[in-house]
């Protein structure tokens, strides 16, 4: 199996986000970056696929030199090799990112591609499906159960209040999310081994974004919280406020 997993380096979910001077991007200086949490499920599923069906796992990321850290983390978990599609351009437009990834993956004789369902940060949640569409292969989003054989896949994806079941031939693309598996932690040995694994770099050009970030703003501040009472005795007052003041019930 020729297995690809596409990952992204993103700000830690705890990070304090500050808007940069240009008003369109965030200050990255003091932020701790991590492998996108949803991508951990993608890497794990790629490794399990390899353990079951054999083959090779290639990790791809697109971005500047920081993106290499995400690839190293995935290689520390067990992926065989890395590919950094290097660009200094802002990767704001999911369609342009997907085109660059599809150009690279399309010619590789790929069997399975995994993505996290979305990257925390920009939260577009589009690139995996875009790549599948551009490659003309089945693409299934938000997969929460997957059974792969050498030629085909079946499994389930999450929908409102439940799941729906799917079947498709390979090659195919899956976006992964919580519930699919328990991602392994990279061991110390894995981290050491990752340093010696091949990480290829290729320069890519994205072109002009059709999705333009005009401005970042902080969300409107919520009113300061207000405690209306203590214990069960305050239940009546709460219900009254919800009915008469907030008028939401």
């Amino acid at each position: 199996m020729n297995i690809y997993v596409c990952v992204k380096q993103v700000p830690d979910t705890e990070a304090r986000i500050q808007i940069a001077e240009d008003g369109k991007s965030i200050e990255t200086g003091e932020i701790n970056f991590i492998l996108n949490p949803f991508d951990e499920f993608a890497v794990e599923e790629a490794l399990r696929t390899q353990e079951k069906l054999g083959g090779e796992v290639t990790v791809v990321s697109l971005g500047n030199e920081n993106a290499a850290a995400a690839i190293r983390t995935a290689m520390a978990m067990g992926a065989d090799k890395g590919l950094l599609l290097r660009t200094a351009e802002p990767a704001d437009d999911p369609l342009l990112v997907a085109r660059a990834l599809a150009r690279e993956i399309g010619g590789s004789g790929v069997d399975v591609v995994f993505f996290g369902k979305q990257a925390v940060g920009n939260e577009h949640g589009q690139v995996g499906i875009l790549v599948a569409e551009l490659l003309g292969i089945p693409g299934i989003s938000e997969v929460s159960g997957l059974e792969l054989s050498a030629e085909s896949a079946k499994g389930k994806r999450e929908i409102e209040g439940g799941s729906e079941f799917f079947e498709c031939p390979l090659p195919a693309m899956f976006t992964t999310q919580k519930g699919l598996n328990e991602p392994r932690y990279p061991s110390l040995k894995g981290r050491m081994a990752a340093k010696k694994k091949p990480l290829e770099e290729k320069a890519v050009t994205l072109g002009e974004s059709q999705l333009v970030v005009e401005k970042l703003n902080y969300p409107p501040q919520r009113e300061r919280g207000r405690v209306i009472g203590q214990g069960a005795a305050a239940a009546g007052e709460l219900v009254r406020l919800l009915r008469e003041e907030a008028k939401v019930i």
């Binding site: 939260e123 439940g162 079947e167 498709c168 902080y218 919520r222």
Partner: protein, 325 residues
Amino acid sequence: MALKVLVVVEAREGESLKKSSREALGLARRLAGEGEVIAVLAAARAGEVPGRLAAFGADRVLVAENARFANYSPGGFAAAAAAAAKAANPALILVGGTALGKDLTPRISARLGVPAATDIIGVELEGDKIFALRPAFGGKVQMKVSFKAAPPVLCLRSNVFDSLPENSGRSAKVESLALSLEEKDLALKITGAEKISGERPDVAESNIVVSGGRGMRDAASFKLLEQLAGALGAGIGASRAAVDSGWRPHGDQVGQTGKFVSPTLYVACGISGAVQHLAGMISSKVIVAINKDPDAPIFKVANYGLVGDVFEVVPAIVEELKKHS
């Protein structure tokens, strides 16, 4: 002002028109001004749906009927949406933010070669330029975007935009949309579905959400929240701690690595309010917090905070609600 807007709607066989589709139609109607609102429907049988689409704001309905569309067909529905866009030539395409809508949005983008933006919470027009607002970085910032190619595809967050009141006096021109489906469009098959959450509405689509966290102590205690949700007609959510403990299914998780919700009322029970949880619910209109720790960060964002034991407070609220109903 006259703008032609295409709305990709969702109505599964035997189910009513999705709330998110009604919200998208309402927004489309307001943005269109004197212009036309066109709905595209992919279904096994359109049945009564075109009439309902008209009642909620559509002027014209393009129907792609196909026996294969009894379940969601990602390739088939995408082909229908793309064909409708080519036939109608809209300035803007709107999609409701359901699981289906989120899956379909990038497909339409790829097929038309146009930009798409997801989780939209605001849309503005300046002349003929379209601006959309979306949260990013777990809601810590809001991103205003514009588009250099038309029509952009906007996937809307549920519960943010108002639908129009149903007007059964409105009518729409209904046309059938001819599709030539390719083999690659049908290679991926959805074969069926299972419901987990039973009778409760889904957390992302509910007007009211009752959510439980670590303070619930175990899975059985969520019965208490089921009672409160029942009394309020609410959906049930959970914090990451509750989901990771195996008390609730993953689909219920609200937060940065779960779902982003914007209900009218969010009731946080035994949830401390970690920043990752706040990311998922901070845009709720009214937040109620019940927690025995008066220093829990959730109280900083709660419109109505109640310090106390959820096991005492929640039954008391259920009693109060019953009294007045």
